[in-house]
Amino acid sequence: MPRGPSRLPRALHPVAWWVWAIGLATAVSRTTNPLLLVLVLAVLGFVIASRRTEAPWARAFKYYLWMAVIVIAIRVVFRTVFASGAAPTDHVLFTLPTVPTPHWYAGVHLGGPVSLEALLASATDGLRLGTMLCCIGAANALANPKRALRVLPGALYELGVAVVVAVTVAPQLIESVQRVRRARRLRAGQGKGLRALRGIAIPVLEDALERSLRLAAAMDSRGYGRTGTATRTSRRVTGALLITGLLGLCAGVYGLLDPTTPHYLGLPAVLVGGLLSTAGLALGGRRITRTTYRPDPWRAPEWVVAGGGVLGAALLFASSDPGLSPTFQPLAWPTLPLVPVVAILLAALAGVVAPPPVAPAASRVTPARAPVREQVPA
């Protein structure tokens, strides 16, 4: 365990958390073993409990858990309704009345016998999807989303700013809706329906428009969008490179994750796509003249955390243990394969290796807190 300055409380580089989480999600995509999936959820829970901050986004994880539950429920309900029959050896739990489908809609069966095996299979399938969702949720809870956007390459900077502004404006919009609704109560008259909506929507929209104009003026006068030396051709080349690169990446990732696709769609497509996008970003970034205030450092803990996620994914893909995708025919309790368990536990190291989060801002302000009546500077 490294001691010394790197153990001081600080925020881990957001990219490290994202690599870690995406690595875990990739690993999860490889298995339907419910025991392994629950183990991943436990690892996520442990890391979040030990390394999250007090910030509002850090409390979002529970919503991802709920989403996972909903995913499982939908999966199971669909499987029940669109039952695809049961094998003779299956344990039939109950039988739904069959709805006859028109002949042009053949192949889809509504109702019929519902077996325990089918339900279990759909539940684990849902659990896998839900766990992947939770991995992304963990990254959101652990990494400050605004700081994560700041590491976007220069070429995508404008996109990041748009997202940040949208995130800031949303609460202001809610506040302005509340204010106008309260004000509308001062004017009696029609209370319901479209007209009432209009009475609230128009002042709110006018307010929002005015606010965004003022924000745009402020950003303009503070130097946002200083173009540097971009020419029209260089912008076009950048765009073309980025789009083909991203398409390649998408196709490649799909190829990697779906074993039935031809081989050239997998790793080669990812590599080519990655290269093209990197080139596009580098070319686009060259014209940007901008610096970053207090950039997050990338040190040993970042390597360990990100490496844990990547290693987990690699080990699960390398492993061909049958325990990774147990079948429920015949019904049997799934086994715990050794290598995947070790791989997932490796990812749990992140909860120990990552430096502890910084204490919340409020407690760092001097103890004698007088936010409203501060001293007038001489």
Binding site: R182, A188, A217
Partner: protein, 540 residues
């Protein structure tokens, strides 16, 4: 440093140019105060300095504006960001990031300042503006004065040579305004920054100005040293008005100068009886509104704590106190539309509580004009708003149009409410609320953004309302307005009433709330220039 060379600015669809043939030179290190009535082109002049006019706003600019030799024709605002810093009226609207430290760094990031330099400048600016303790705070948690100082700091970190401030203190209470102005003067004195400042409440800033730019309203611009400019300007703070009245030359611009000159004036008028501040009403009968133990709480935060007060007919009450002291919450609770955690309100002879009477009946008892009057307006024209007010208020003695014409005559029917001036919009909303003929009228910060003539018009409107037997409550930070318009002052602090009494008794005693005339003529209990004029008239 700033050079306007025969500048004419015309907006599309306007009948004539806003600014006509303006020649202006502001030298390095000057604090230049831009004065003029609302709508004379102050904001246009300020916007032209960094090229927001016409690059961002549209319109045409003939002539040349040069900042440190750089012409705004060739450089859009973003290319001038290293030279000109702009701070607007509402700091929150201009914030791009969400914490103090990141906001300070934002401008420098755009200018590609090296990270080490950025780090150093952020620390320096935090100290310079007294923001060090707030560095990790979220911007929306700060008080108004703190936000405005962050906004100034955020443009200062880019080390601009020119700082443009458009009404930086208009939303602030007197103490927070002092704070911001102290920061600005320190910049001028210590760093040699050239500052161009527009401000309605001249009494706050006039003493710091090196040069005054006056916009009389016909598109022309005149400039000169403050004492000669204010001898004739169309707007002037009370200290200057008093100086004009007493015939002092050169005109004193600060309370300190005026006080040293005022010895003779004090002698002359001390022999006279102090003229009454305002004609007194028919005397207090039974209270029109009686509130007992009003409390308002937002979760664990207590905004108003067990406030009891009586409002009488024919009485103007000013509600004062720093930002966040519970003024708005109290007004909303009295009206019944806002939350109320405890207490009772009894209005009129029936002792009805507007909260329990339903909306339509409630506004017949107590009318409230909120801080942003525009929140009440949603129809496309003045006429439609007035017709809607007539429809929703039912039969009444006077139509809304009639009421509006009595408040501010001559607002055209077909104008969009957004296109009205602040004062006109306030009058429109007031007319809408008065249409229900409430006995008690509450105005939440109506003086915000009003110039001296508009405030004088508001004072007359308020006088008219109480003359009809109403009771009016005005929450405001504007001490000069209170001195001229209020019979009684209630001061709130942390949701509790800390002072309640006749205007003269409450505000003269307070160092933050005393109007300029009171400071100059203390210990004589004079509050307004009009009072002094009356006393002098008697003496002659």
């Amino acid at each position: 440093m700033i050079e306007f060379d025969r500048v004419t600015i015309t907006y599309p669809d306007a009948t004539g140019p806003v600014l006509r043939d303006v020649n202006l030179r502001v030298d390095e290190g000057e604090l230049c105060l831009v004065v003029g009535r609302t709508g004379t082109g102050k904001s246009t002049l300020l916007g032209a300095i960094n090229g927001l006019v016409p690059h961002f706003t549209g319109g045409t600019l003939v002539g040349a504006v040069r900042i440190d030799g750089r012409s705004t024709a060739a450089h859009p605002p973003r290319e001038l960001a290293d030279l000109v810093g702009v701070v607007g009226q509402d700091p929150l609207a201009g914030f791009v990031t969400d914490t103090v430290e990141e906001e300070l760094a934002y401008g420098m990031e755009q200018l590609a300042v090296p990270p080490t330099v950025m780090r150093k400048r952020v620390e320096e600016t935090l100290d310079l503006l007294g923001l060090a303790e707030l560095r990790h705070k979220a911007l929306h948690e700060l008080s108004g004065g703190q936000q405005q100082r962050v906004a100034i700091g955020a443009v200062l970190t880019a080390h601009p040579r020119v700082l443009v401030l458009d009404e930086p203190t208009s939303a602030l209470d007197p103490t927070a305004a002092e704070e911001v102005l102290a920061a600005i003067t320190r910049l001028v004195h210590d760093l040699g920054v050239t500052v161009v400042l527009a401000e309605h409440r001249l009494e706050r800033v006039v003493q710091y100005a090196d040069r005054v730019v006056h916009l009389p309203g016909d598109g022309t611009v005149t400039d000169g040293p403050p004492d000669t400019m204010f001898a004739t300007s169309s707007v002037a703070p009370p200290v200057v008005e008093l100086g004009r009245l007493a015939g002092w030359a050169p005109l004193p611009l600060s309370v300190r100068d005026a006080r040293r000159r005022a010895g003779r004036l004090r002698e002359v008028i001390s022999a006279r009886a102090v003229p009454t501040l305002r004609p007194s009403g028919p005397g207090a009968a039974a209270p029109l509104l009686r509130a007992k133990g009003i409390s308002v709480a937002y979760g664990p935060v207590v905004a108003v704590r067990e406030v009891s007060l009586d409002l009488h007919a024919c009485e103007v009450v000013a509600l004062m106190g720093r930002n966040g002291s519970g003024k708005s919450s109290l007004l909303w609770a009295l009206q019944g539309s806002g939350p109320r955690a405890g207490g009772t309100v009894a209005v009129g002879p029936d002792r009805a509580d507007p909260r329990d009477e339903g909306r339509a009946e409630g506004r017949r008892l107590v009318g409230l004009v909120p801080q942003t009057p525009a929140d009440l307006l949603y129809l496309p024209s003045v006429a439609a708003e007035l017709a809607q007010a007539d429809a929703e208020s039912g039969p009444g003695p006077r139509s809304a149009r009639d009421l509006l014409d009595r408040l501010v005559p001559g607002i055209p029917d077909d104008l969009h409410p957004r296109d009205l001036s602040e004062g006109q919009r306030l009058a429109l909303v007031l007319a809408v609320q008065l249409r229900a003929a409430p006995g008690v009228v509450l105005l939440d910060e109506p003086t915000r953004g009003l110039d001296y003539p508009a405030k004088e018009a508001l004072r007359r409107i308020v006088d008219g309302l109480v003359a009809e037997g109403r009771s009016v409550v005005v929450s405001t930070h504007d001490v000069e307005f209170v001195a001229a318009a209020a019979d009684r002052v209630i001061v709130l602090a942390e949701g509790e009433v800390v002072a309640d009494g006749p205007t003269a008794d409450v505000i003269v005693a307070s160092p933050a709330f005393a109007p300029q005339v009171a400071k100059i003529l203390a210990p004589l209990p004079y509050l307004t220039v009009a009072q002094v004029a009356a006393a002098l008239g008697e003496a002659r």
